[in-house]
């Protein structure tokens, strides 16, 4: 351990810098992959129907999946899922762009507190976005047309946030997709950038005092802090 820390020590600040860059790049990937996937299985849909939620759109297995899900949902009085009617899909891409911008700023300025603040805000926004997703699911599942042809007393059709749920003839499976993973990686890397730097400044001093003779590169690290 000591040896490893020893080897890494000269570049810790630089590693934090790399972590932060990784966090930013990872966030850029979010645009190119779905965040969440809801799969519906029914006896009539043995291959399942898949709906993908992206940062800026909702898609399905093919161009017609949403129409097909809406046709099925109308029997129980659920509203049509219309991506155009979801304002979040319009401003989330900008919010993400803002976060990426701030991430770049933090990366350029190389300030520990900025790494922390960025990761913290990012994590907070992510949790809020997941909560927002939950609210939409709740709304779709609970606010049913009173004239719906199929009414089951006490039944709501909210899909699970994560996991499996049986809704009448459907088994709904909801799971995060790649973009959610990139978001998580971004946040972890943000925090890592902060922690990494901290370990450099605090622990290396201890190491230095207790065990190691100062060398030139360590000295330079110490000087920076």
């Amino acid at each position: 351990m000591k040896t490893l820390r020893h080897i890494m020590a000269p570049g810790k600040k630089r590693i934090a810098h790399v972590f932060m860059l990784g966090a930013v790049i990872s966030s850029v990937f979010i645009y190119f992959f779905p965040l969440w996937k809801i799969t519906l299985y029914a006896p009539q849909y043995p291959q399942g129907i898949r709906m993908y939620i992206w940062i800026h759109k909702i898609t399905g297995d093919d161009a017609y999946t949403l129409q097909n899900i809406n046709i099925l949902n109308h029997y129980v009085g659920m509203k049509d899922i219309d991506p155009h009617a979801v304002p979040e899909l319009h401003y989330f891409p900008y919010a993400l762009a803002g976060i990426i911008f701030l991430g770049i700023m933090a990366w350029l300025m190389k300030k520990r507190w900025m790494y922390l603040a960025w990761a913290f805000v990012y994590a907070l926004l992510s949790v809020m976005a997941i909560y927002d997703f939950y609210r939409w699911e709740y709304d779709y599942g609970h606010h049913l047309d009173p004239k719906a042809p199929i009414k089951v007393p006490g039944m709501a059709y909210q899909p699970p946030l994560i996991g499996v749920k049986h809704l009448l003839n459907f088994t709904a499976i909801s799971l995060p997709e790649w973009a959610a993973g990139f978001m998580l990686v971004s946040i972890i890397l943000g925090f890592a950038a902060f922690i990494c730097c901290r370990s450099t400044s605090v622990k290396e001093q201890i190491n230095h005092h207790d065990l190691l003779p100062a060398d030139s590169s360590q000295a330079s690290v110490l000087l920076h802090h």
Binding site: A63, Y64, Q67, N68, I71, Y75, P149, I150
Partner: protein, 663 residues
């Protein structure tokens, strides 16, 4: 009294004993024969395991069988023998409105007018390099000569082309190696061009016309040219492959040119012919302008997948070649009495012609035929067509001991399999040695047989299907008419093994099969609504409407689970003609809807696949309010998928109106 036998002189006893010994020998031999055939059979449990396709599992092959006089093609799975679909081709089909809907009616148009029935005999898969490629299936209409093309992405008929100057389009529609041409040979010779002449002027006036239909890369067919042949009956055909790919072979009977009581009068000569036509030469002669223009009106009906509508194109005149003017175009090979099937082996060298009134099979060699042509080994000529010497072209004779050989197909191990109609069996023999390897009885009287790819360069020689003509005692009786039937054999081993009997639609004449792995991935699941260019499409419920144009009413109506838009229509008057233009808005696989309206005197229903538009013509007969409804159980609320159309007397002042969901 002493037994008589001892009172007779020994001279009489000896031949008698010899007779008894011979009888015993025959009995023994037949016992052995039976035992050997039992050795080829397998027990019921093993057979069941071989053909059993577990629930939810897929068959290994798609088999397409002609529906014979049903005018249709039926699609089966092999080895299970399960029926998947009936594709209407030359017959109206009330089940899905084929030939009833305005979009599909043109597919049944001919120069005689609308003909809603035919007799369909030979399905033929398109080929690339002599191997079935899964693009299209062709099939002939025998009665009113036509050739149809079925698209194997949708399993729907997309083109029918009429063949002028032809009658009994039986030696059809066999394809050349790369589907350059589909042939359509006439079974009956007729006055050419048609005219009013005494029937007994047959020899003078009657001709047999062989047609070559060009197939474009898009699949569109065009009648390229015809060859005017002597007035024989042209029975079957097959194109060459590999080295013989430029040739098409036709069997002919009635070289006697009889016109009455053919069963006697056309069975007089010991040999008839195989006509070998070099289509590459024919192409060259056409290009050189060595053709004659002959009258002949014919329809080419094409189904445009983007408009989902068929249109008829009427053509007049056809290019014809006269063999006497075109050296090297046609040769006649003498073949044993009344040959039926003519089949080319996977190498393209051997041409098997089966004399159906004969016991033996004559196999000709393409190489020898070429040699005979070069060395001018001719045996006279007919109408200027050289007749090649029988011995000079013969590769071998299969001495079978069966009776009535009809058709031959091939496996991938150098074996050939021939049906024997009269002795009711399939005989396996080896190419080259001409020795019989195995024989199995069929039940009963097989016509064609089919091995997947068995008439191509690459047979998938695992199964053989015998298409039988008689089924006495094999199934539960159903009155005087018994079911039609096919039998599946396992041909993967040395001996053929009967695996399965299964009933079929119509009288299946011929069949083709292709591995499911080729067709399954390319099968369409829906018709794209976005690409639907039918002029009467209604793409959204908002666009649904009713339009009056004089006495014509156009109803632009949509269907989606589980309602019509509009579902209440008023303001129709007696004397109006209503066109229901239905569009199925669904874009989900297998989400079909139907449409039927009460009192529809001239029509059937419509069955619409997702994204399809179809039009049903309805002439109201009475005043009143008539229901219409979805005929395909589409959803939990299918029974609620209904509507009303009100028909008023002409004098009534009822304004045109329509709605859905207005209480």
């Amino acid at each position: 009294m002493k037994p008589i036998i001892f009172s007779r002189p020994m001279t009489q006893v000896i031949p008698m004993l010899a007779g008894i010994i011979a009888m015993a020998g025959l009995l023994l031999a037949s016992c052995q024969a039976r035992r050997s055939s039992e050795a080829g059979a397998i027990n019921a449990q093993e057979a069941a395991q071989r053909v059993y396709v577990a629930p939810g599992k897929y068959d290994e092959f798609y088999a397409f069988m002609s529906g014979g006089y049903s005018g249709q093609v039926s699609v089966y799975g092999l080895p299970s023998g399960r029926l998947f679909k009936i594709i209407p081709v030359f017959s109206q089909n009330p089940e899905n409105g084929y030939g009833y809907s305005e979009e599909t009616k043109p597919l049944l148009m001919t120069s005689y007018g609308f003909i809603p029935w035919d007799d369909a005999h030979h399905p033929e898969l398109s080929q690339t390099n002599g191997v079935p490629d899964g693009r299209w299936l062709f099939i002939n209409a025998n009665n009113t000569p036509r050739v149809a093309r079925i698209d194997l992405k949708t399993f729907e008929t997309v083109e029918t082309i009429e063949i002028p100057n032809s009658a009994g389009n039986h030696s059809s529609p066999f394809v050349t190696e790369n589907t350059e041409y589909v042939v359509a040979g006439t079974r009956f010779s007729v006055p050419t061009p048609q005219q009013d002449v005494p029937i007994d002027s047959y020899k003078k006036n009657f001709k047999g016309v062989l047609s070559f239909i060009k197939v474009e890369p898009s699949g569109d067919m065009d009648l390229a040219f015809q060859v005017i042949m002597p007035g024989f009956d042209y029975d079957l055909a097959h194109a060459g492959k590999g080295k013989s790919k430029d040739w098409v072979f036709f069997t002919c009977y009635n070289s006697e040119e009889a016109h009455t009581l053919l069963e006697v009068n056309a069975s007089q000569k010991d040999k008839d012919f195989v006509a070998a036509i070099n289509w590459k030469k024919a192409e060259a002669y056409i290009q050189q302008g060595k053709y004659h223009q002959m009258p002949g009106t014919y329809y080419d009906n094409r189904f445009d997948t983007s408009t989902q509508t068929a249109r008829s194109f009427v053509h007049k005149g056809v290019k014809v070649l006269i063999p006497a003017e075109c050296p090297g175009l046609v040769y006649l090979i003498p073949a044993p009495k009344s040959p039926h099937g003519v089949d080319v082996d996977p190498s393209g060298n051997y041409i098997v012609a089966n004399g159906k009134l004969n016991a033996d099979l004559s196999v000709f060699s393409f190489d020898k035929m070429q040699q005979a042509i070069q060395q001018k080994q001719f045996d006279g000529e007919v109408n200027g067509i050289p007749v090649l010497k029988f011995d000079a072209t013969l590769a071998g004779i299969v001495k079978s001991g069966g009776l009535g050989p009809l058709h031959t197909e091939f496996d991938d191990k150098g074996n050939a399999y021939t049906t024997f109609f009269i002795s009711s069996e399939v005989v396996k023999w080896k190419l080259g040695t001409w020795q019989v390897e195995d024989r199995q009885p069929t039940f009963y009287s097989p016509g064609h047989l089919m091995i997947p790819g068995g008439d191509s360069r690459k047979p998938w020689g695992k199964y053989l299907v015998a298409l039988n003509k008689i089924t006495k005692d094999r199934y539960l009786p159903t009155g005087p008419e018994l079911c039609q039937s096919a039998q599946l054999f396992d041909i993967s081993g040395d001996k053929m093994k009967l695996l399965l009997d299964f009933p079929t639609v119509g009288e299946p004449h011929y069949a083709q099969a292709i591995p499911a792995s080729i067709l399954m991935p390319q099968s369409d699941k829906i018709y794209s609504l976005a690409n639907n260019r039918n002029p009467y499409v209604t793409k959204t419920e908002k666009e649904a409407r009713v339009v009056r144009n004089g006495r014509r009413i156009d109803v632009y109506m949509t269907e989606i689970r589980s309602h019509f838009v509009p579902d209440n229509i008023e303001g129709i008057h007696l004397g109006d003609t209503v066109y229901f233009h239905l569009t199925n808005l669904e874009q989900d696989w297998d989400a079909a809807h139907g449409f039927a309206v009460e009192g529809n005197r001239d029509n059937a229903e419509l069955l619409l696949m997702p994204g399809q538009t179809k039009t049903l013509k309805w002439v109201p007969q009475r005043v009143g309010v008539f229901p219409f409804y979805c005929t395909d159980f589409c959803s939990a609320l299918h029974q609620e998928m209904q509507g009303y159309i009100r028909v008023s007397a002409p004098a009534e002042q009822v304004a045109l109106s329509w709605s859905t969901g207005k209480e």
